[in-house]
Amino acid sequence: MTFKTLKALALATATGGTVAFGSAAHAVEIEYWQYFFDARVTAMEQLIENFETANPDITVTMTHFPYADYRTKVAAAIPAGEGPDVVQLFYGWLNDYVQADLIQPLPAETFPASQIDTDFFPMVQAMKDGDQYWALPTAVRSLALFYNERLLDEAGVEPPTTLDELMAAAEAMTKVDGAGNITQVGVTAGMTAQDHHWWREGLIRQMGGEPYTNDYQTVNYNNEAGLKALEFYAGMFQRENPVTAIGFMDEPQAAFKAGRAGMHIDGSFRIGSLADIRGLKWGVTELPATADGQRSNYSSYWVNAITTKAEGEKYDAAVKFMQYITSDEAMQIWLDVVGELPAKPSVGMTEANANDPIFGPFIRGLEYANTTKFADESGQRQLMVEMVERMTLEGMSAADSLAIAAEAEQKLLDGYFAAN
């Protein structure tokens, strides 16, 4: 018996007061697993403490281990009847977890689909199957445009709100040396970072397209909208006076941190690591819109789900715990501690949160965000990387390279969905 359990028992006994002694011994212990990330663990500890105070007869034990081992451990433990009752997983893994019978759907009585549809930001519906939800997030992430205030001032430009303004601002902030080598980029670029999300769910939709159809099983960007999106993207580094270079300073975020990039598109999870950089004055604004005001964003998230191991009273306790960690209170705690965005407009769109100078642009972006259902995120990202490489290193035209990428991604998706 762990110290936590003892403490919970003591607490249960104390708060139980008049309740018969026997009920304290009835304490249910459930296990919660997540991967190790300092702030997430701290936030979860706080949530567990609050939950245990409200539910003295339930104890939650959290286990965490390095991200690299996460999948294998979960896969080995649950079928063996060990491991978590409530588990955290990346939204993109949901299909694998469902297929492998590792998680069970959330009970419709407590988590009615219609209620969740209206309560949560729309992209959470990727977790829905028919009229049941498999899993729910506490927090979500989206993209926004980071800008270096000092470089913006120096060039005398304002944070851009449209794609045209983005290009103009980037042009004003780009610096080259005598030989024409870029020494400072106006905006960072690189499909290896977050740009592939921006391209897929941002630019393609803004150009009037839809990147995938048939529930993300069919590639749908080998068309005019996809080509326009790719041409806009490649236009940043394949023009007469490029405003960026692929691989500049090795990694886009490194260039931005070093103050050598005027603007940088990245996720809300970057906020924490930028906050501590000395001498870097930065701000955030929403992803630029098209000239006619069309906006689109990408959102990803980690979700919590009840595993197939949870049965009987543990199941009931797990349901209660799920209810708490998807509550407004939990989301506010998660935002304050981890810096990840609330998954419900009721928390996100509060006056204070939606107008927060840093979180605001990300939270407002959630309203028009889409979530890509990946079959193999790194594999699909790789195809976007290669699409650009064929253009920059082999001189292929955008249209040809786009067609190859679309075909390769369709093949990857077909292979995945045929196996599952």
Binding site: R71, A75, Y97, S378, L393
Partner: protein, 297 residues
């Protein structure tokens, strides 16, 4: 007990030998051969680490042989081998040969050559990765730019990237090969050299007729050892191209990196196991061929 007493001395020796051998046999069985057998089994299955394993026959292999990326990777692996092994052996032999003759600061020089071998490959790969960056952070390109020479795309190029990654890998392995060569050189009896000098044989002839033939066992060992090393190259490539592993456009991807990606980012264990089996066969064939070719007749 009676059974044991009835055995002959020779049989008793065998019993004891096997008793002592039991531990390593068990160890090899459980830690080496069982996983190897299991990997071969998985290569005929479809498995994503989470669900059930299903039999797919030779599907993984036919997908593999029809995959252009696999052939590209296969070629890269052999380029690493065919460039890396001879280059590193020649350089390390030249250094060892001259170092062997040097008395001044001998120990210190030997330490300098050996140091990279003891350094973490990951740290070294990252330092070289930054050396290779374009202006404004890359050491090499900054130097070129400061004297007005156009930049060279080291890593962001389909032709330069592989040699650029191979160079630090060769450099890192030199220390070990130099030490082995020097040990081999020391083992050659002085009297052969003295006899050759009395007969007035040229330095070149001494090298060709005495030193190299007598170093053959050392050379065989190093060729096999470094070939296996280059066929399994991974850390340098992975760390120098983490954002785009094996890129650009698979120009630097070796087989081991492809296996790693298939297994642990696509979670396609069956396909990865099939690639492992292919790598195993390649390593086996290459090692046997080399042993046969370089064996004493």
């Amino acid at each position: 007990m009676k059974l044991y007493r009835d055995l002959t001395i020779h049989q008793k020796q065998i019993v004891w030998a096997w008793t002592f051998l039991a531990l390593p046999v068990l160890f090899y069985g459980v830690i080496r051969f069982y996983p190897t057998g299991n990997a071969i089994l998985i290569s005929f299955q479809d498995w994503n680490l989470l669900g059930d394993r299903t039999w797919t026959g030779f599907d993984n292999y036919s997908t593999l042989f029809a995959d252009p990326v696999f052939w590209k990777v296969f070629k890269n692996t052999f380029v690493y081998l065919l460039l890396g092994t001879p280059i590193s052996l020649v350089i390390s032999f030249v250094i060892a040969y001259h170092l062997d003759k040097t008395r001044f600061l001998h120990g210190f020089l030997r330490m300098l050559y050996f140091l990279p071998f003891m350094t973490s490959a990951v740290a070294m790969a990252w330092v070289w990765r930054w050396f290779y960056q374009p202006v404004p952070i890359g050491l090499f390109n900054n130097a070129l730019a400061s004297v007005g020479i156009p930049q060279i795309n080291f890593l962001n190029s389909t032709t330069n990237a592989l040699p650029a990654i191979l160079a630090p890998a060769v450099w890192a392995g030199l220390g070990f090969q130099i030490i082995i060569f020097m040990a081999g050189l020391r083992a050659i009896p002085r009297s052969y050299y003295e006899a050759a000098r009395i007969d007035g044989v040229s330095t070149w002839s001494i090298l060709w007729e005495i030193t190299l033939p007598l170093l053959k066992p050392t050379i065989v060992f190093l060729v096999v050892f470094s070939s296996i090393g280059f066929l399994r190259i991974f850390d340098h490539v992975f760390n120098m191209t983490t954002n785009n592993p094996g890129g650009p456009l698979n120009a630097t991807k070796p087989l081991v990196l492809m296996i790693y990606q298939t297994a642990f980012s696509s979670f396609d264990m069956g396909y990865a196991a099939a690639q492992t089996v292919v790598l195993f066969v390649v390593l086996l064939v290459v090692s046997l061929l080399q042993l046969r070719l370089l064996r004493d007749r």
